[in-house]
Symmetry: C2
DNA sequence: ATGCACATGTAAGCTGTTACATGATTTC
DNA sequence: GAAATCATGTAACAGCTTACATGTGCAT
């Protein structure tokens, strides 16, 4: 199995919908940051490399009072590679959940410190949860085709399901940790 | 923020319980693979580097009919660094869920292909779920102290919670995708 | 006979992160 | 007046993965 440059496929996914700049790609990824992230410092070089591979084409757009924008468009070859990737089985999802690792070893630190970490996790998940609830309505009005809307709502539903489950588990775990042992 | 070598802390966590070889560390990580993974090819060089930093010491054990084992023990300095890391807030958990990215763009492929990916996910999660159920009993009998047992059970409970939530979401999503649009 | 468990490592290289660099315009 | 947004990139490098290399003993 060759390693896949996942950034490449995320970019192709965005450009498959519409031409966009590296900046636009980053904005899009920020909007789905609860399950996918990208950095500028990775997007720009990968776009360059993709241009060399013939997956995208670049057009520089002059704007007034703003920096020029490099607009990238997907090529037929790019579209082909993108769809080929979409059809492939999902690569196994390798987790590294630091919170759980620390929890496992938390007998070496005060209970309060571990509880604080769990409380921070709850806050984080609640922020995500709120973002998803606000976003759902906007998406319903923006997405036109039925297939796309279904997919978007399913992804949002995933976020809701997982944040709820995580928050519930954090609360339970805090209680268990704070129980007196006797 | 400097980047953390997370492998280092995972290793320290194992060695903090008992002296172990690189092979043992890997075995341990395999047993918690549902939320943490390590490769031999990373463990061995990191162990070497940790020895140079004075976090661990090495002792080579000759065995009959088996390759010699390099047994590593944590030093007081290593223990100190480990606890310092444990106390630090958890680094934000950056996800890259390929399944969700593909789902988001799945209007470009047949519904059946996407459904298959979701079915594979269900199978994967059911395997994990089964593993956790079998493991819980073994852990209850093995772990002695109350604090450690609580932590282990909480981690297992996380696995159960998330796998259940994920399986439920996959099933719902398959149904939604397979509904006729009219 | 085939494969798995035991056991350790090196070499190469991609992926992705952090820090740095620049600067106008808009918003609070 | 400060901060955020728009907009693009380079340099350095840490982290991790993949492929390679080697060999015994036990179980099926």
């Amino acid at each position: 199995m060759a390693k896949m440059n996942r950034t490449k496929y995320a970019i192709l996914g965005v450009l498959n919908e519409r031409p966009a700049s590296g900046y636009d790609v980053k904005k899009f990824c920020d909007s789905i940051a609860y399950f996918w992230n990208e950095n500028y410092s990775h997007i720009y070089p990968v776009l360059k490399q993709m241009e060399e591979e013939g997956l995208v084409t670049k057009k520089t757009e002059q704007t007034e009072g703003r920096p020029p924008r490099n607009i990238f468009s997907i090529t037929p070859g790019g579209r082909e590679e993108f769809v080929k990737w979409l059809m492939l089985p999902v690569e196994p999802h390798i987790l590294r959940a630091e919170l759980l690792l620390k929890l496992l070893f938390s007998n070496n630190i005060p209970v309060d410190n571990m509880v604080e970490k769990l409380e921070n996790k709850i806050e984080e998940q609640m922020r995500i949860r709120e973002y998803l609830d606000n976003g759902a309505e906007e998406i319903k009005s923006r997405i036109k085709t039925e297939r796309k809307l279904k997919a978007w709502l399913a992804v949002i539903q995933w976020g809701r399901t997982i944040t709820d489950a995580t928050i519930g588990w954090c609360e339970e775990t805090i209680q268990v940790l704070q129980e007196d042992d006797e």
